[in-house]
């Protein structure tokens, strides 16, 4: 490709991204490293960190990391830049096409392959090979593409079944350990005039993330997608919506709304993540607890969470690595994430800290990791198909919750979409 057409392409990409961001009302300012911008030399430096956190407790982690790093590096200013979840990937990819971007990226770990293919992330191989504490991290949190490491997760997030102990006490049921028990509890809750369960049915990757445990509990896998498990799982969801245990409104809820609804009281259960511990503590005025999702031995719970990486066009990658090493990848950083949000540290030493082992709410999540933890996204999905698969399953999930599609039609739709993607 000649340089002129490359420049044209970059101008277009930048224009398209600007238009798209303007359309959605989200125009984060471009972050260009200031100061000498030439690596780790002297003088004031600014380190830009792009993220999508909007929850106060999650933002607090970034603020803590910023304070930690700035205290240890007085000449450095860490600039945390919020980009809405749906805009982060497009923004990173369009920036990369014009050879710009942040120093550090905190993103949905499942999107690593998309971002790496889009040339938005810098390889971490050399840094990781020299990292003294690398052996503290399990393989499952190290994200690679074509044998190159592009991101590592400092912590793991996953879904569990939150319960309102007051409601369960009122209806006289114990936290469920099987789907049958969950069904019975939901029926009892609805009969008592309480809400049943809240979850997300947004027709995108968030919907797919929340759908997968239920789909897999009936035997669905991406390795060998079959119709019957999908129909059974979708039928269960429509039983819940028909009985009133699950509101059809969930079909357009992202993951924040269902937990806020649960935390407001009056619902027996919420399918949501460990990262909601801070919100639960600050919002819920009832007794609550968590159990692993009752999805049996076959069910899988994605081991998600944010991946951290160095931007491909960072002008100070060494400084960016120093930041990651001192914050997300440090024992202290892992403990901070656990204390503030309830994220489970990926480092084995941090995972064994009092902040984790002394927290009753974390134990069920740790149990889930051991019994049902599944790589996210599934390894069988080709990197270039991850976004398409998430969208296809998320849309079907949303359609089933709203009643737009029957379980049979939704299963057929998912299988037809997967046929060309896997």
């Amino acid at each position: 490709m000649n340089s002129a057409s490359r420049v044209q392409g970059r101008i277009l990409v930048a224009s398209a991204a600007a238009v798209a961001l303007t359309l959605t009302g989200c125009t984060p300012s471009a972050q260009t490293p200031s100061g000498d911008g030439g690596g780790d030399g002297g003088g004031a430096q600014t380190l830009s960190v792009w993220h999508y956190f909007s929850d106060d407790n999650q933002v607090a982690i970034l603020d803590e990391y910023k304070a930690m790093f700035e205290e240890a590096n007085p000449d450095v200013t860490v600039e945390n830049v919020f980009v809405p979840y749906d805009q982060l990937n497009p923004r990173l990819i369009s920036s990369a096409a014009s050879s710009t971007g942040p120093d550090v990226v905190v993103f949905n770990g499942a999107d690593m392959s998309t971002l790496a293919l889009g040339n938005a992330l810098a390889p971490l191989d050399d840094y990781w090979a020299d990292f003294a504490d690398a052996d503290q991290f399990p393989e499952s949190v190290i994200h690679s593409l074509d044998d190159t490491v592009y991101a590592v997760q400092g912590y793991v997030n996953l879904l569990g079944l939150w319960y309102n102990a007051d409601v369960l006490g009122e209806i006289g049921v114990e936290p469920p350990t099987t789907i049958d028990e969950l069904d019975a509890a939901l029926t009892a809750a609805v009969d008592a005039g309480q809400g049943g369960i809240t979850l997300s049915g947004l027709p995108n990757s968030q919907g797919e993330w929340q759908a997968y445990p239920w789909l897999s509990s009936f035997g669905f896998t991406y390795d060998d997608p079959q119709r019957e498990p999908l129909v059974e799982a979708f039928s269960m969801i429509q039983r819940w919506t028909e009985s009133g245990a699950l509101t059809r409104e969930a079909s357009t809820w992202d993951q924040t709304v269902p937990f806020q609804t649960f935390a407001a009281g009056g619902h027996a259960f919420a399918e949501n993540g460990n990262w909601q511990m801070g919100t639960a503590e600050s919002t819920a005025d009832f007794s609550y607890g968590v159990v692993p999702l009752p999805i049996g031995a076959e069910g899988g719970v994605y081991l998600g969470g944010e991946g951290q990486a160095i931007g491909a066009f960072s002008e100070q990658p060494d400084l960016a690595w120093d930041y990651l090493e001192a914050t997300y990848y440090s024992e202290e950083g892992g403990v901070i994430a656990a204390e503030l949000v309830g994220s489970i540290p990926a480092r084995s030493d941090a995972a064994g800290s009092e902040a984790v082992t002394g927290n009753d709410l974390m134990a069920p999540f740790a149990d889930s990791i051991a019994s049902n933890g599944t790589n996210y996204p599934a390894g069988v999905i080709p990197p270039e198909s991850v976004a398409d698969v998430q969208l296809a399953v998320g849309q079907a999930w949303s359609s089933v919750i709203s009643g737009q599609l029957t379980p049979d039609a939704a299963a057929d739709q998912v299988l037809a979409a997967l046929e060309g993607l896997l």
Binding site: M1, G118, N204, R248, S251, E384, L405
Partner: protein
């Protein structure tokens, strides 16, 4: 006058002319220079349009004819002809998206125009209250769509204001699924879009109504016309050209509406509120199939162009 246009004979003493002694030839040169000067003033706007309107559209066409994915966005774009368009039309869901778009645009256009005209008629008299309401309308129109959409999402929720009123007043036994019923959701988002477009249309209509000669209203009153007859036989015919322009503007607005769908339903439930602009966004910025997204955007542009041509032909026929 003829003296001014006839060249003096050779050897004749030169006569100083009024106006600085410029010859007709020099005047023509000045006129010509003035024309060029006009062009000079147009140049910045033309350049701006070329860079920010024509060039992106050309690139959009080029992208729609190419295979552009996340891994070659900044590199070579492989030409694939009409493959992206064929892929779109080959997708079983695309027909539904077109229908969604047409229904959405129809609701926004009809309600936007009728509501705008009604508001303009009510606000046409000058005074304190019409001025206040007009200011409120401008405020509604000027609010960022993200803010507007978020507020409406809250209002239309099962625990929102509308459902609370409906159930408390006994008008509905259960909450109305404004945003999560597969049919009602599209109508709800379109209604919110109409609500936002009404203030702009009302402002334009109001200016047109104020411009109607007072004698027309006086004559109609002398003839004993009722208020409704006045609206039907005086106001509506008088604002016909305004209606034509607003129709095109509202249709175009409806076709490019994206933000309310993004904020209120994200195209869902399922794909129930997915229209062409939203589909293009999902294809380009969620699936990162930029070629496919560009072809969807181009189809939307072509649909608007067809409407614009129909409009232009109607206007020309009327002018004849």
């Amino acid at each position: 006058m003829s003296n001014l246009t006839t060249a003096p004979p050779a050897g004749a003493p030169s006569v100083r002319r009024r106006g600085g002694g410029r010859t007709p030839a020099s005047r023509r040169r000045i006129t010509g220079a003035g024309g060029n000067r006009h062009l000079f003033f147009i140049l910045p706007a033309a350049l701006f349009l070329l860079v920010f309107a024509v060039y992106p559209v050309v690139q959009l066409v080029r992208m729609s004819l190419s295979d552009v994915r996340v891994d070659n966005l900044g590199a070579d774009w492989q030409f694939v002809g009409l493959e992206n368009v064929i892929r779109n039309f080959g997708d079983g869901a695309f027909g539904g998206v077109i229908i969604n778009t047409v229904v959405f645009v129809a609701i926004v256009t009809v309600l936007g125009l009728v509501g705008g005209l009604a508001a303009a008629i009510l606000l046409a008299p000058t005074g304190k209250w019409p001025g206040l309401i007009l200011a409120l309308l401008v405020f509604v129109w000027a609010l960022p769509p993200v803010v507007n959409g978020s507020v409406w999402k809250f209002l239309l929720g099962t625990q929102g204001l509308f459902n609370t009123l409906l159930t408390d007043l006994g008008l509905a036994s259960t909450a109305v699924p404004f945003l999560f019923d597969d049919r009602l959701a599209l109508v709800s988002v379109a209604l919110v879009n109409s609500w936002v477009v009404i203030p702009f249309n009302a402002l334009v209509y109001r200016a047109a109504i104020i411009g109607i000669p007072g004698e027309l209203f006086e004559a109609s009153r002398v003839d004993g016309a009722s208020r409704w007859q006045e609206i039907r036989h005086v106001i509506i015919p008088s604002v016909r050209s305004t209606t034509m322009i607003l129709t095109v503007l509202t249709v175009v607005y409806g076709f490019r509406s994206f933000d309310f769908i993004y904020v209120m339903t994200f195209g869902g439930p399922g794909t129930a509120t997915t229209t062409l602009p939203f589909l293009g966004y999902v294809q380009a910025f969620v699936r990162f199939d930029f070629g496919l997204g560009a072809s969807t955007a181009l189809i939307a542009v072509l649909m608007v162009l067809v409407l614009a041509v129909i409009y232009a032909r109607n206007v020309r026929q009327e002018e004849k």
